[in-house]
């Protein structure tokens, strides 16, 4: 029985899940109020004089960060004292894989919207199929094209080309995947110096990618007239690249946390689940970018 009971580890009870729920609650009501106060849309304002949303939202975000910090601090402490075992490590790995699968499905929905718009909505609005009368009655002057530079109601934008910054960004992400793999390999064979060096390079590449994205958005807004309001092309462009950018930010943050944990000597070649999970996540955002580059920027 003694050797068997070490097979499982059921963690002690913890306040952090409840705190996390409270954090999400604060973020939800704060964000809803803040968005309503700070954006213009019809008559959709909850209270014209209320401005509490931004404070609740900020409090929620800080609350959430603190909760995650304490939750993971407990988990790391338990891991370092050797409470975790093969069984739990397997659960973590599988859990991470399924989380990434759920992210794939999220991006799948966005890509699906892109293809639906490009292959069906725009041609139909232009009169394709049995939609000649739709075209004639709604917007007879509308020209079907992709990317959609002139919307049915006449908003215009320019197209973001593929072979400038986006191509550089593609190269950056591919190289960062390679440097991360080198770092991971260094961790497994125990070459600490190489691990720290290439982990650092990967983080810098991630930050470089993000700053180029920010510059690209600036360029889109100020020189191309490509905005969220620019019709379905702008909506899809910013949704796909924006959510990808958020994921790169989270991935970079994970790599930075791993960097500091490497410096503290937390990872051994047998026990480095968090490092592996961050690497998987990084490769996942890399693959999403490749699809994105092909269907959003290039074709």
């Amino acid at each position: 029985m003694a050797e068997n009971s070490s097979k499982y580890y059921v963690p002690e009870s913890s306040p952090w899940p409840l705190f996390g729920s409270i954090g999400l609650f604060l973020i939800a009501i704060g964000a809803a109020n803040f968005i309503q106060q700070s954006t213009q849309f019809g008559q959709n304002t909850l209270r014209a004089d209320g401005t509490w949303g931004q404070y609740v939202l900020m409090a929620g975000v800080l609350w959430m960060i603190a909760t995650m910090f304490f939750w993971w601090r407990d988990t790391i402490k338990e891991s370092l004292t050797g409470l975790h075992n093969e069984q739990l490590s397997g659960s973590y790995r599988q859990g991470m894989i399924w989380f990434i699968f759920s992210e794939v499905m999220f991006f799948g929905a966005l890509f699906g919207a892109l293809f639906y718009a490009r292959w069906l909505i725009i041609p139909w609005l232009g009169g394709a199929g049995n939609n000649a009368m739709t075209h004639e009655l709604l917007w007879p002057g509308f020209q079907a094209m992709w990317p959609l530079t002139t919307t049915p109601d006449g908003r215009t934008t320019q197209v973001m080309g593929a072979w400038g910054l986006p191509a550089i960004n593609t190269a950056i992400l591919i190289v960062s995947s390679i440097t991360l793999t080198i770092a991971h390999h260094a961790l497994i064979v125990g070459e600490r110096g190489r691990l720290i060096l290439f982990q650092g390079i990967t983080i810098l590449l991630g930050l470089f990618f993000l700053s180029l994205q920010v510059y690209e958005y600036y360029h889109a807004y100020h020189e191309l007239g490509l905005t969220l309001e620019a019709g379905i092309y702008g909506s899809l462009f910013f949704f796909l690249t924006g959510f990808h950018g958020i994921h790169v930010s989270m991935g970079t943050l994970m790599l930075i946390v791993c960097f500091f944990r490497i410096l503290k000597g937390h990872f051994t070649k047998e026990n480095h689940f968090v490092y592996e999970a961050s690497a998987w996540y990084w490769h996942f955002v890399d693959v999403v970018w490749l699809f994105l580059f092909v269907v959003v920027y290039w074709l």
Binding site: L18, S21, A28, A31, S91, S102, N130, E229
Partner: protein, 535 residues
């Protein structure tokens, strides 16, 4: 048996069960979290049911008498949302929490803290949703709660949505986070925590059904998140996803929604298939007929659910080829579903049947779910659906599969496993009253809806033509009868929770098989700290 019990007593000294409020708020115990899920879903069932009764009170007579049409729309919307996301889904998650570790010989769910987070998100998310209804009913100026139907189609929910739509969107995000984490937990538990010897094809069908359900949840909840996020930006940040003037399309919303929504339907019914596949063999005293075919049928239903979504939108003007594809795919689903119904019946064939309460509910499920399945087959036929679309026939169809299907199977599960959860047998007298009243009233409630639907009564209206008056009166009588009958179930559950009743043995149903019956009743706080041996 005694060895197992002694072992648990010994172990409880080490892992002492926490007491008081902390036990429930900070729990990492799958049984406690399962209990929380079950009570929460029951509370939501009552709230959603109350809203249904408001709807039926208004529709009892033609003309307007109880609420104004605006509030009526809010009732139909929030009733649907609460029943789907607050009652049926959390109830089956509660059953999964309680039963899966017991059935596969695991000490707990694989990720217990995340499990607790999955649960505790829900009360907060529903506080937001129900709060908007309370504001609408009692708040200053009566700001509208969500009023666009539970499917929240654009542009009703974007351009014309009330202010509370934003709160609704963020509460859906929270429910999605909860569901995805809960589902990942189930998958990992099943794949990684089975006792030695518990091979995949030895798992009880309830575990199989939930594994496949969890896969569907992880696959489609993110798609719902994408849909509501697009709604939010369409409402406030000027995007044009669902606005044709900017090159988008309101029908795009329907495609994304139903790509989530159709698998969601199976998310609500697959666990029921698992429950019934556990109960019928127990009371027929025969092994389940065609175990492997049941597994494959469940998996086929799940995979097909990804390619049938547009049968909810035959009337939006899709190209003919698309319509035909979705029609044939939908009809194909009746094959694996037919396999399941056949297997349940074949399990009972020449069995030594007895009709204790769980079996009664399971049998009612088989008959009434099949009835709902047949009306579904009618709706799958595109030319016929043009006639039935958005009528009470559709309402009848999905209430047969969800109320007398999913909810009845959840009752079956509760009567079957309450002895294990509480240590006492559910009160038979109250249980029988509950069953017979529910069975009769549910049919009075939903069967005439087929007739008014075929005759053309549209759904989601606060009033109707005089020709539908008689049927609607009977439907409302059935609704109140059904609603009041559920108070009997409150009494059954409260009696069990207070441990009032006949003490339950470890294996109270003599034909029942499975690891959950090898531990004492009520199940100790910790079970299977050492994995059991599976022959």
């Amino acid at each position: 048996m005694t060895a197992v019990a002694a072992h648990h007593d010994h172990h409880d000294d080490h892992h002492h069960a926490p007491h008081g409020l902390k036990r429930w708020l900070f729990s990492t115990n799958h049984k406690d979290i399962g209990t929380l899920y079950l009570w929460f879903s029951f509370a939501m069932f009552m709230v959603g049911g109350f809203m249904a009764l408001v709807i039926r009170a208004e529709l009892m007579y033609p003309g307007m008498q109880v609420v104004d049409p605006e509030f009526f729309n809010q009732m139909t919307t929030v009733h649907g949302l609460i029943m789907v996301f607050g009652a049926v889904m959390p109830a089956t998650v509660g059953l999964a929490n309680w039963m899966i570790p017991l059935m596969i010989g695991a000490p707990d769910m694989a990720l217990p803290r995340m499990n607790n987070w999955s649960f505790w998100i829900l009360p907060f998310a529903f506080t937001i949703l129900i709060g908007s209804v309370l504001m609408s009913a009692f708040g200053e100026g009566n700001p509208s709660a969500p009023n666009f139907g539970w499917t929240f189609y654009a542009p009703l929910s974007t351009k014309y949505g009330p202010a509370s739509t934003d709160l609704f969107i963020l509460s859906v995000h929270m429910m999605g986070i909860s569901s995805i984490m809960g589902a990942i937990n189930v998958i990992v538990t099943v794949l990684n925590m089975r006792a030695p010897g518990m091979t995949m094809m030895k798992m009880p069908l309830f575990v199989w059904a939930w594994l496949i359900t969890a896969f569907l949840l992880v696959a489609v909840m993110p798609v719902l998140a994408g849909a509501v996020t697009m709604m939010l930006t369409d409402r406030h940040f000027g995007t044009s996803f669902f606005d044709a003037a900017g090159g988008g399309d309101p029908v795009l919303f329907q495609h994304i929604f139903w790509f989530f929504g159709h698998p969601e339907v199976y998310i609500m019914i697959l666990p029921s298939f698992g429950i019934v596949s556990a109960i019928i063999p127990a009371f027929a005293r025969k092994p389940l007929f065609g175990y492997a075919s049941m597994v494959y049928a469940t998996a086929s239903i799940a995979l097909l659910s990804f390619v049938v979504w547009a049968h909810h939108m035959f009337t939006v003007g899709m190209p003919l080829a698309g319509t035909l594809f979705f029609m044939y795919m939908t009809m194909l689903i009746s094959v694996p579903t037919g396999v399941k119904v056949f297997n349940w019946v074949a399990t009972m064939w020449r069995g030594s049947l007895t009709f204790e309460l769980p079996m009664k509910w399971a049998l009612a499920f088989v008959v009434l779910f099949t009835c709902g399945g047949l009306s579904g087959l009618m709706l799958a036929l595109t030319p016929v659906d043009f006639q039935y679309h958005d009528t009470y026939f559709v309402v009848a169809h999905f209430h047969y599969v969800l109320v007398s299907g999913a909810i009845f199977s959840i009752f079956a599960a509760a009567y079957y496993w309450l002895p294990k959860w509480s240590g006492v047998m559910p009160n038979t007298f109250l249980g029988e009253l509950h069953f017979w009243n529910s069975l009769l009233s549910v049919n009075l409630l939903f069967f005439p809806m087929h007739f008014v639907g075929l005759a053309g009564m549209p759904r989601r209206y606060a009033d109707y033509a005089l020709q539908f008056a008689d049927y609607n009166w009977w439907i409302s009588v059935g609704a109140f009868w059904f609603g009041i009958s559920q108070l009997l179930f409150v009494a059954v559950c409260v009696l069990c929770a207070m441990k009032k009743g006949k003490k339950a043995e470890a294996a109270p149903w003599d034909g029942a098989e499975g690891l959950e019956w090898t531990v004492p009743s009520p199940a100790p706080f910790h079970t299977f700290d050492t994995p059991p041996v599976i022959k």
